[in-house]
């Protein structure tokens, strides 16, 4: 899938009440790592914690 520009994503998000745009992206390789609802909240990640553009993320979030 073609990488979208930040501006395009912002505009799409603001225009659409539902997020069909992002949902139509192909499934990511390791979805377990990025789907918090599938992991019991409170479970401690072994993933490295990183800070990118002000976000505090797990490294796997960048997948």
């Amino acid at each position: 899938m073609k990488k979208m520009s930040r501006r395009a994503i912002v505009q799409a998000l603001l225009a659409l009440p539902a997020m069909s745009l992002l949902r139509s992206r192909p499934a990511v390789a390791n979805s377990d790592e990025i789907a918090p609802d599938e992991i019991a909240p409170g479970a401690i990640a072994r993933d490295e914690i990183i800070e990118v553009n002000g976000w505090i993320l797990r490294r796997s979030d960048l997948a």
Partner: protein
């Protein structure tokens, strides 16, 4: 009894043992305790029953240093004091707030939280609070903490009838104590200003100043100057170590499940660091308040996340579709490091209508606090990511070391320090019983006696300390 003027009071021939200055939460609570013990007490209140611009004008002053609220806006000068518009957030200082922090000089109280705990039952009745819930750790570093939103008791409204009926308490309105006179051992009287003129000297066996967290320092600095040091004989710390709770929007959080956190009636949840985390990072206490983000801002936040972590943003979009409550703004309020340089002094150029110099407040946030803000958000963000409860984005100005914004909450209207409690007379003004060092009959009520501020709103602790002081004075007087 409530008298609308000093003239009316004089006709009554009431003979008080104790004179309390100020009828806010501190003054009213101490008066009720003494009255209940059968001790005749007078409360001199500078303002009247209602707000007035004329009375408020006595509170004007200036601030030097960081941006702060106008001093006649951040407090109220009439019966009931600032309880007339406080928001009602309640929590007692944490146990660790009373303990010294090795990495922050001049922290630690001469009393512990256990010393005020016996009074919390009374405080709950006064402030109409349910029982406090214990903190809930969500990681080794972060705990959920409860801040109770009380009905914001207006002290004048709640207690006016009781005070009016009382035979042991006399509240005298429109009576401004401009200064105390003292001989270095005892206060000998209070100089009064009423109905726009000097109203003579008021005498009593004991005096308790409860004029608020800015005004206590002003009154005592001016009194001390006029009495050549006879009111606060050890005055090195007088007016110093003044503190607030700086409050700024620190960023946003996307939450896996907003319902995971216990929220209050306004849908807000609060988090603080564990003592171990504070010690490891050598930071001050802080409180992060989660406020639900409005829908359009959530979408912007997801768009921002999509640039960094598209997959995460995708998951987030799904969440947003399923439930709207999935993001929060993070407001951070933190404990200031107590610094002697943050202080109140008397203006050299400006006086009020009674001729008392106005306040010049010198206030600056320190580098340790800036670190507390950044590390605190990192700590919270790391906890959310590790536990998969959500993700945090820190506001750009914090990450980039930018200036504090001047269009935000700024602080809590919490005026603390200036007459702090301690054992070292060079660094404190009152002892563990709130008695001014070296004086036999002068006590101080209110948050000006706080040694450190903790992260929570002060009035619950003020009220507990006032109950304790009321009990102490009753015992001293009964002997």
């Amino acid at each position: 009894m409530i008298f609308d003027s000093h003239e009316a009071y004089k006709q009554a021939g009431f003979k008080p043992k104790v004179c309390i200055l100020g009828s806010g939460p501190a003054g009213t609570t101490i008066a009720r305790k003494l009255g209940a013990a059968g001790i005749p007490v007078v409360v001199l209140e500078a303002g009247s029953r209602e707000f007035s611009d004329q009375s408020q004008d006595f509170y004007r002053g200036t601030t030097v240093g960081d941006f702060y609220f106008d001093l006649d806006v951040t407090r109220l000068r009439f019966m009931g004091g600032s309880s007339n518009h406080w928001a009602g957030w309640c929590r007692v200082l944490d146990k660790q707030d009373f303990e010294p922090k090795a990495w922050a000089p001049d922290t630690g109280w001469p009393i512990s939280r256990a010393d005020i705990e016996p009074y919390l039952g009374e405080v709950h009745d006064i402030l109409e609070l349910p029982a406090f819930r214990p903190d809930v750790p969500i990681s080794d570093d972060i705990r959920w903490v409860q801040l109770i939103k009380s009905p914001a008791v207006r002290f004048a409204e709640k207690f006016a009838d009781e005070l009016d009926r009382s035979r042991t308490i006399a509240v005298v309105l429109n009576t401004y104590a401009t200064e105390l006179a003292g001989d270095g051992k005892r206060v000998t009287g209070a100089r009064l200003w009423s109905s726009g003129q000097d109203a003579g000297t008021f005498t009593a066996d004991y005096f308790v100043t409860c004029t608020g967290g800015l005004e206590n320092s002003r009154l005592l600095l001016w009194s001390n100057r006029r009495s050549n040091g006879g009111v606060v004989p050890n005055a090195a710390a007088l007016g110093r170590y003044w503190m607030e709770h700086p409050t700024f929007e620190g960023g946003n959080a996307i939450l896996a499940n907003y319902g995971e956190f216990e929220v209050d009636a306004s849908n807000e949840a609060f988090f603080s660091p564990t003592p171990a985390a504070m010690e490891r990072l050598q930071i001050m206490n802080f409180g992060i308040r989660l406020i639900e983000t409005p829908y359009p801002n959530v979408k912007r936040l997801i768009a921002d996340l999509a640039c960094t972590a598209p997959s995460m943003a995708e998951w987030m979009s799904d969440q947003l579709e399923q439930r709207l409550r999935c993001a929060a703004q993070l407001y951070v309020a933190w404990e200031q490091a107590p610094l002697a340089s943050n202080h109140i002094e008397l203006s050299k150029t400006d006086v009020d209508h009674a001729g008392v110099p106005r306040i010049e407040l010198h206030w600056k946030k320190s580098p340790l606090e800036r670190r507390t803000l950044l590390e605190g958000l990192r700590l919270f963000g790391t906890t959310l990511a590790q536990t998969n409860l959500g993700r945090v984005r820190i506001a750009d100005w914090i990450g980039n070391g930018g200036d504090y914004p001047t269009n935000e909450e700024t602080a809590g209207h919490h005026h603390m320090g200036g007459t702090r409690m301690g054992t070292d007379v060079s660094k404190s003004v009152v002892d563990a019983n709130c008695k001014v060092h070296g004086m036999d009959n002068l006590y101080i009520g209110g948050s000006s006696v706080f040694c450190t501020s903790g992260q929570c709103n002060p009035t619950t602790t003020i009220t507990a300390l006032a109950c304790r002081l009321g009990d102490h004075l009753s015992k001293v007087i009964a002997v």
